[in-house]
Amino acid sequence: MKYLDEYRDPKAAETLRRAIRAATTRPWTLMEVCGGQTHTIVKYGIDGLLPPEIALVHGPGCPVCVTPLETIDQAIAIAARPDVIFCSFGDMLRVPGSERDLLTVKARGGDVRVVYSPLDCLKLAEQHPDRTVVFFAVGFETTAPANAMAVWHAQRRGVRNSAVLVSHVRVPPAMTAILSAPANRVQGFLAAGHVCTVMGYEEYEPLAARFHVPIVVTGFEPLDLLQGIYQGVRMLEEGRVGVENPYARAVTREGNPHARRLIDEVFEVTDRAWRGIGTIPASGYRLRARYQDFDAGRRFPVTARPVREATECIAGLILQGVKKPRECPAFGGRCTPERPLGATMVSSEGACAAYYHHGRLHTLGSRTNA
């Protein structure tokens, strides 16, 4: 596949690996913001190819991981209604709410469906006029235009039996929160390339200046990651701050103006709670007042019950990069991918799930070598 295969080329990867080694003279901590990047790092064993001085911290960029427990519970309550067809991206289905997950709702007879695109929900709504089709609109800025489009189009076409449960998050405020935390150890960022295709990287420039960090707009293929790490390390070694964009084949400084307009038409910025981290100011989107008819939260009010996170789970500290998964007492024992206590163990790119699989080899490997 063009634009994928060439970015998995072993020879070019070796060139970059050498360049990274040559450029590195002391320890550096970089955070890859996006869960998709964590996925690539684990899938291709990229961390194992880096010099030992470079530590990668896995960022909070997994919408599945950071959706608040209250919202998951709300989704579960709505999905269990007989008059609702509840649609979601596949990976939200396994995230534990306070009592169960969406897969369990499905097992008990709820009509829960996996969709590929939010626009598919409009089609479903037209096919089932007697029921309300609710879409679980989660995601970062990347997904916001598609979700906005589904709402905008539903209103324009008068598809009254469709609604969305919005749980949208924005990246720059989260990066600000991470950099402002007293325990922060992140020295540079690999910015989430696909968020930047939509939003551009203008908003990162003041961030880089304020916190004196390098930010590299990074794609998702192995070569993209290696290139991002290389440029990040170079900037750190040379003491440069600012934003560099090696993912220019997909990202411009302004982003996608049409997509940004669409987001702005449907959503407005709001404070948002991040699972495990807490409320971050201006870090989310909610529907604008003129689209409130499509707000599933208003259409199906759920009495919010006080919820309690599993007390042992330290997903919050992990998502901020303060702690590593292995520092959690529940890790690998009471918390596994089959029975996760927290969302970072659920998503295939959640930091804990990645470590669970990855560390297994390391432990066994060192034992064999010993």
């Binding site: 596949m1 899938k43 291709y44 961390d47 194992g48 469906r113 590929y116 290696l226 089959e338």
Partner: protein, 357 residues
């Protein structure tokens, strides 16, 4: 490795609390399925002779001479939605799947029994189509279908049609394809492209359907097995990597035989379309089901001959040498990635779901 995970506490995890209900993941062929077997079925039937390590059981007749022919017995239920899919249907799958479970044990399939659970309201024409397809599949594989059963459940209590097939075969003396056979240094081969069946099913599933039709690879493999055993009598082990994909079959091997398995990503045969579909849905082809492929392990010296024999058979044209059995990291399957990094290929946890991330 930077910031090396030190997982001293990990080695003896507290077993995860058991879920209170059966989840879909229990049927995915991954870790939940394995837990169900280990915690529920094996304790109940162990002393009654349950063999959960292989896809089939082998029995000797009470009156037979030692080292003579043995009977092979296997059974499998088929639940698939939609019941007709590109390249096959539930009936063809039920015949081929059970034949393959016998074949990977080296047994010649002799006869099948089929039990049907029908949902009230199923169109008789659909049942007719499925039955005709099973007949064709039996003819093609040269196997008889000699007994069966039919039950009907209330509308809404079943998904159109479920089929259970039980297969009976004869295993020649002296052939041992136990999962405990493989040794470090052995080679791992697959008989063709992986993930075709699972992606074919997904490509027509509501919500994620593609414009392009991808066909299931469902096929009876006994003929290929004969060619393989002829070319390579030292063949150690075979399995048809159905649900849970190649990863589950190899993880079972690694766990049961206490060996490591090392795969080479660049060597894995994957159709461009299947790879593309996996990229789009965020799936890993190593976990996607196959219905007409097998994975085999053979001594290194014989692997070349075996590969040639596989490629010489119409069902093995895309066969490839994909990895090695190693002494390191016993119980764990690893993969050397395209760019040279290494990762663990764990057993599937729960169901594989399309992801956005």
């Amino acid at each position: 490795m930077p910031d090396t995970p030190n997982m001293d506490g990990w080695q003896c995890p507290t077993p995860p609390a058991a879920p209170e209900q059966v989840l879909l993941g229990h049927g995915s062929g991954g870790r939940l399925s394995a837990a169900l077997l280990r915690n529920l079925f094996i304790p109940a039937f162990r002393d009654l002779g349950l063999n959960a390590e292989e896809d089939q059981a082998s029995l000797s007749l009470p009156c037979a001479e030692p080292n003579s022919l043995r009977l092979a017995l296997t059974t499998d239920s088929y639940v698939v939605r939609p019941i007709f899919f590109p390249g096959g249907d539930i009936g063809r799958l039920a015949v081929n799947g059970t034949i393959n479970d016998l074949a990977v044990g080296g047994a010649r399939p002799i006869a099948l029994a089929a039990a049907f659970i029908l949902e009230e309201g199923l169109a008789l024409s659909d049942l007719q189509r499925v039955v005709a397809s099973m007949r064709d599949a039996c003819k093609q594989a040269g196997i008889n279908l000699v007994t069966g059963d039919t039950k009907v459940v209330d509308r809404g209590k079943g998904d159109q049609l479920y089929i259970t097939t039980t297969g009976f075969g004869i295993a020649p003396p002296g052939v041992s394809l136990s999962v405990r056979n493989p040794r470090p240094g052995d080679r791992v081969l697959v008989s063709g492209t992986i993930g075709d069946h699972g992606i074919a099913i997904m490509s027509v599933r509501e919500g994620i359907e593609f414009e392009t039709v991808l066909e299931s690879d469902t096929a009876p493999l006994y003929d290929l097995v004969v060619a393989m055993l002829e070319a390579c009598p030292t063949l150690r082990w075979m399995r048809d990597p159905t649900r849970g994909g190649l990863s589950s079959a190899l993880n079972e091997l690694a766990t049961t035989a206490h060996v490591g398995v090392q795969l080479t990503e660049a060597a894995l045969p994957i159709r461009t379309e299947v790879q593309a579909a996996c990229e789009m849905l965020g799936l890993d082809p190593l976990y996607v089901a196959n219905e007409g492929k097998l994975v085999a392990v053979a001594p290194a010296d014989d692997a070349g001959r075996l590969l040639a024999a596989m490629r010489g058979h119409p069902l093995g044209r895309k066969a490839a040498l994909v990895g090695e059995v190693v002494a390191d990291h016993a119980g764990v399957v690893t993969l050397r990635s395209l760019i040279g990094g290494e990762r663990v290929v764990p057993m599937l946890a729960g169901e594989q779901l399309p992801r956005i991330c």
